[in-house]
Every structure is written in C-alpha cells, then in structure tokens.
Amino acid sequence: MTRYVPAVASVLMFAFAFGAWAQSSPPQHQHVAPNLIDGAVHPERIPDSVAYRLYLVTVSTGQNPAEAEQIRQRAHLVKTGLVDTDQQIFTSILSDFRTKYDALVAEYNDSAKAATARNKTTDVHTLLEKLDDLVQSTRNTISVRLSSRGAAKLHSFVVSEKKNMKVTED
C-alpha cells in the first residue's frame, strides 16, 4: 500500500502542472453541476414532451432497418399494448420521426461546428424549439392515425416510462 503513495502524488502534481501550463492554449471549462431529475422519484417533473422525445429517439430506427433492429423495435412496441394494426402505423410514424430528427440535429451540428471553428457558440434553443415542434407534430400524428384506444395506451405507456428516465432540469 505505502509504495503506491508516491505514484499517486505524482499523478496529482502532474494534473496541477498541466492545468497551469495549459492556460495559454486549450479551452478552460467552468462546469456547472447539472440538476438531474430522477423520474423514478419525481416523474411529474419530467415534461411529457421530453419523455416523448427520449422514447421516440430510443425506439425509432432509420430507413430500412436491419432485421435485428426490427425485432428489437417490435419488442419495444409490443410492451406498449398496441394491437398489430396500431403497431404497424406507429412503426411508420417512428420512421418519419427519425428521419426528421436526424436531419434537424445534423443541420444544427453543422452550424455548431462552423461556429466553433470561428470561436463562436451557437444558440441551441433554436434547435430545441424545432425538436419540440417535431415531437408535438409526431404526437398529433399518433392521435390522428392510431385508434383512439391505441393512442391512449401509448400515451399512458410513455408517461409511465418516466420512471426509467433521468433528465437534466432546464
């Protein structure tokens, strides 16, 4: 045990030295501790829109998913209690969602990378508004295209899944 103390001390000294030496070049970060909402404890503090976003991102697939992806997605969907016809409709809704989600994030990330190269930052809230709009329009589509019973089942399932989510409070 004792023989390892000098080694640990050396590592810590290196960390100090690196922090001081590095002042002139790399970015210096001031991190703020996140306020994390544990959905298992406070599900009511996770907005439905955020729960839907996480759920939709998780269960959606890209265009032409592999067979393994389809099987996994089906396992996700069966858990919702949707009947086959509603599952099939929901699968196509998920595919549309994912295509639009990927495009929005890719567009934003391109602009963020360009801004970073100019030592600028981008306003992520523009992206967040677009993602919220996409989630809301997807929910609207679910309400219209699924059976009323299916849409209600899906909603109550997504809300119940908040217990498995941890979300940073805005």
């Binding site: 002042q23 790399p26 970015p27 210096q28 703020v32 396992a75 941890k166």
Partner: protein
C-alpha cells in the same frame, strides 16, 4: 466502482482546470450540461432486450477558444456479462448528441441476469464531465406468464367451443413467438362413458401446442388459441340415447385438468397452478355446456343442440 473512480478523478482534473480559468480571466465561459438518460427493458418470451439512450447537449455561454476541444456521449449497457460502453463520435462541444446502446440475450428460467447501465458525456480536454450514475435492476431470465384469462371465441363443429386465451405479467412483457403446450395436471374424468361404450373414454387433454400470437390468433399480442373444448356431435347423439339405456343419467360430461407450459431455452416451464386449468363439457337434453376455468377467470358457452 471503477467508473466512479474515473468520474471522480475526471472531476478533480476539471476543478483544477476551472481554477486555472478563473485565475487567468481570459476564458470565462460557463458550461451547463443538459443530458438525459433513458433505460428500457423489453422481453419477448426468452429474449431480453435492454437499451440505454444518452442524449443532450452542453449549453456554453461566454467567449472561449473552443477549437481544441471535442465532446462525445457514451451509453453503458452490460446485460449478463454481455456488452459494455458504446459511444458517439467526437464532435464539437456545442453539438447535440444522441446515442442508444442495445443488448439482447436469451434468458434461462430461474436465472437472474445483472444489468449495468450508465450514461455519460466526455470532453477531450477534461474527460468525463457528466455522468448520470444510473443503476439498473437485475433481470429475471425467461419470465413465464403470471396471468391467463379465457374468452369464448366462437362455437365450432356445432357442439364445441373455441376458447381464446390471453397471457401476461405485471411487467407487460411480450410472450409473442413463444410456444405454449398443454398437458394433464391430473387424470381426466368422464361420467358419460361406460364399459358398453363404443367410443373411447376421456382420460385427459390431447397435448396440443400453440404459438403465442400465431396460428388462429395471429395479430393478437399475448394471445394463444384456439383451445377447442367439447364433445363431438357423434358423441352427444350417442350418449343421449345410450346413457339412459344403460342407467346413466343425463346430464353427463367430461372434466379435464390442463397444465400449461411455455418454452424457454433450457426447456419448458409450467405456469399454471399445480391443479391446472379445469375444462368441462356437459351433455344436456337440449344443449351442451362447455367451460374453461382458467387461472384468472372462468367462462362457459351454452350451445343449443
């Protein structure tokens, strides 16, 4: 434990780095991580699917030279010793990230599989700067139904009833694709039969198998069937005449005690109580009554014949 040490060490370096920033005063940027993690379990019979999604972004305010830094997100998903970290590619610190790490195993009944999950965000300069510390529950392998209910589907072959069963559990697991098979929990009883009978005595169920959500119940999640219960018209006609002629009263009938098993990788597991489901078919003068007494309900159909 190792990840916790790594995170603490990363935080230590981060604090050191941040104090340098304060002292320097040339880069007063503020970083606010906005990450979320969603963990999910889905099951289809013996198959266990887990997913861990990490998504979010870092809100950066103020001016700072960020050209040297990149970020990525990670999702940890280890199920029964299979899997581990999955991570996004490095990208700009203000980029939006989302990543899902999926795992699948086939579970054995009675075996509990440890599940470890985590989500984190990593900076190329300071290391891990956000970690949700998620803990995930262990998962029981190859769950079996805890409930089974019966509904009358329709009358078939004039005097028999096709019953449609729904199985489930409290977790809402899917059993679609599994095979359920009947057997006898106890010998069947037949009060219509006599030594004079030309037909066979009912001694028990025939040992049928059904694919959950397949066959006649395709498209109906967690359903199996149809389970046909009843006498044939030939038997009904015969016993209505022969039983009274041999001093046996009408009504008479059969009773079966049906145990149900469901397929798992190492074999089948019985999910009905030890006494099984009771199936009855009664011949009356002007009708027949077919009943199925299931784990969670019972239902009968009376057919005029």
């Amino acid at each position: 434990m190792n990840r916790s040490i790594l995170f603490l060490f990363g935080s230590l370096i981060l604090l050191l780095d941040c104090s340098g920033a304060h002292g320097q005063g040339s880069c007063g940027a503020s970083f606010q991580p906005h990450f979320s993690v969603y963990t999910s379990i889905s099951r289809e019979g013996k198959h266990i699917y887990t997913s861990v999604t990490t998504e979010g972004w870092t809100d950066i305010s103020g001016q700072c030279n960020m050209s040297g830094a990149t970020h990525k997100v990670q999702a940890y998903n280890q199920l029964g010793g299979t899997g581990g970290w999955n991570e996004s590619s490095w990208s700009c610190p203000t980029c939006n990230f989302y990543l899902t790490n999926n795992e699948t195993i086939d579970g054995e009944p009675g075996t509990t599989y440890p599940w470890f999950c985590d989500g984190s965000s990593v900076c190329s300069i300071v290391g891990t700067f956000w970690d949700d510390g998620t803990s995930c529950p262990s998962i029981l392998g190859c769950v079996v139904p805890s409930t089974e209910t019966t509904a009358v589907e329709t009358a078939v072959f004039t005097t028999e009833t096709a019953f449609n069963q729904t199985i489930g559990d409290s977790a809402g697991d899917s059993f679609d694709g599994s095979t359920v098979t009947e057997d006898n929990a106890a010998p069947g009883q037949d009060t219509c039969w006599g030594t004079w009978s030309t037909g066979p005595r009912f001694t028990g169920v025939t040992g049928g198998s059904w694919s959950v959500a397949g066959g006649q119940v395709v498209g109906q999640p967690n359903h199996w069937g149809f389970d046909d219960v009843g006498w044939t018209t030939t038997a009904v006609d015969y016993y209505r005449v022969q039983d009274p002629a041999h001093g046996v009263g009408i009504p008479c009938g059969l009773t079966g005690y049906q145990s149900m098993t469901i397929s798992c990788p190492s074999g089948s597991v019985t999910y009905t109580p030890s006494f099984g489901n009771k199936l009855t078919a009664t011949i009356e003068q002007t009708d027949v009554i077919n009943c199925r007494y299931d784990m969670n309900n019972s239902v009968c159909q009376t057919i005029s014949y």
